[in-house]
Amino acid sequence: MHIHIPDGVLPIWLWVLGYIVSIILVAFAIRKVRGQERKGILAAVMVAVMLVVQSVPLGVPYHINLSALTGIILGPWWSIIAILVTNAVEASFGHGGVTIIGLNTMVVWSEALMGYYLFAVIQKVVGKSRIRFPLAAGFSALVALMFSAFFVVGIVAVSGIEPAQALGSHEQSLPGGVAQISPGVFMILVLPMAIAGALIESLITGLLVAYVVRVKPSLVSSGD
């Protein structure tokens, strides 16, 4: 899941807060990854992979990110740095607003973080095997993507995007406050696409992990 809100729509305090939180997290992550050069190269590869898969047109306004897979392969700290770079590159190409890079980093990282920890927990519970690996990865991706869909709805709800405010008008003449975009309506609009997208992405994640486990298993366990 990736927020595609254009610049100038979200309230300034929200996207500034998104930047502040992301910068703090990334600064912490940079300290944590010090000395892990080899994984840094993997992170660069994952950035390129995310950019490639995001460029693949699916015919609907949805694209896969492979963020849960990124979390599984890179672990939580390299993944947030990789996601920040991916979002910044995307925004510089006009894909997604520049103002929402911080919020998008948090949203996509939530998928990577949840994917990484769920995958680790499932492995501990059910054990490691060539069949269980892809199932665990696919399931982790599905749960992580569904979680991030609610995260996005939460951001829109918190933003309280109101046309009258966006217009710069202080009039309160809009009927019964209905000008505010209802989070419920937004969820109804977004969730079907999010579920469909999450199913596709979790399937791809599972299939990719199945292949990787078969030919290069060290890659999947590198997130440990």
Binding site: H4, D7, G40, I41, L84, F93, L208
Partner: protein, 239 residues
């Protein structure tokens, strides 16, 4: 924006010559931030239209294809249209503003990226974090290698009959191809790492900006862009 379009962006940034291309990357970044701020804060329809013409004007000066850039800006603008549709019942003007703001911001970012080489942007990032600048450097270059690799393997896949057979066979073959590509990306990344390590890489590339660069007359191009953007914003507020 398709994969091949990114090649074109790289070509525009590296091969074209204009005052915007020659201007200092620092000045361009600061000017872009100022112009973007003006777009975000702009609440006047006329001002946003003027802003659009200003950016298109600078794209023309930069010898960029306006048609192509407008085409690339469709994707981000599409999401502006979605928001605009949710606002149209309250105000048509607000809806048009949302679309224009999305279009202006996308075209502005495309102006920056099409006139600035990655080799200029990455050292600037390195002033804040070398980890991020190194990651951006490796990723950006890897991206082009991967596209080449993907195209080669896709051609081989087609020639060898990867798309023949039943639907199940095709799906399995495509799945294997995607997996193969993924692993080959990872392996090429590791090869790059081993190659740079043998040449002395210990986690950091030198990403220093050439210090003490004097301002040139080319730097006035992005400064003018920022200045006009602020003037348009102020005129919109006052008017």
């Amino acid at each position: 924006m398709s994969l091949s379009a990114i090649y074109l962006v790289d070509y525009y940034a590296n091969s074209l010559d204009s005052p915007m291309h020659r201007a200092s990357v620092t000045v361009k970044m600061i000017s872009t931030i100022m112009a973007l701020g003006s777009i975000i804060l702009n609440k006047s329809l006329l001002s946003l239209v003027l802003q659009l013409f200003l950016i298109i004007g600078f794209q023309t000066i930069s010898k960029l294809s306006i048609k192509r850039l407008l085409l690339w800006a469709i994707y981000p603008t599409f999401f502006g249209v979605l928001f605009a549709l949710s606002q149209v019942q309250y105000s048509i003007e607000l809806s048009i503003q949302t679309i224009l703001r999305a279009l202006d911001a996308a075209l502005l970012m495309l102006l920056l990226i099409n006139t600035t080489q990655d080799a200029e942007i990455i050292p600037l990032i390195g002033k804040f974090s070398r980890t991020i600048s190194n990651l951006a450097f490796f990723s950006y270059r890897s991206f082009f290698l991967f596209i080449d690799e993907s195209e080669k393997r896709l051609t081989a896949f087609r020639v060898r009959g990867g798309l023949m057979g039943s639907l199940g066979t095709k799906m399995r073959n495509i799945g294997e191809l995607v997996g193969l590509l993924f692993v080959s990306y990872m392996e090429s990344g590791e090869k790059v790492y081993d190659a740079v390590k043998t040449r002395g890489y210990r986690g950091m590339f030198s990403t220093e900006i050439v210090a003490g660069r004097e301002m040139t007359k080319d730097d006035y191009a992005p400064i003018l862009l920022a200045l006009f953007s602020v003037v348009i914003l102020v005129a919109g507020i006052v008017g």
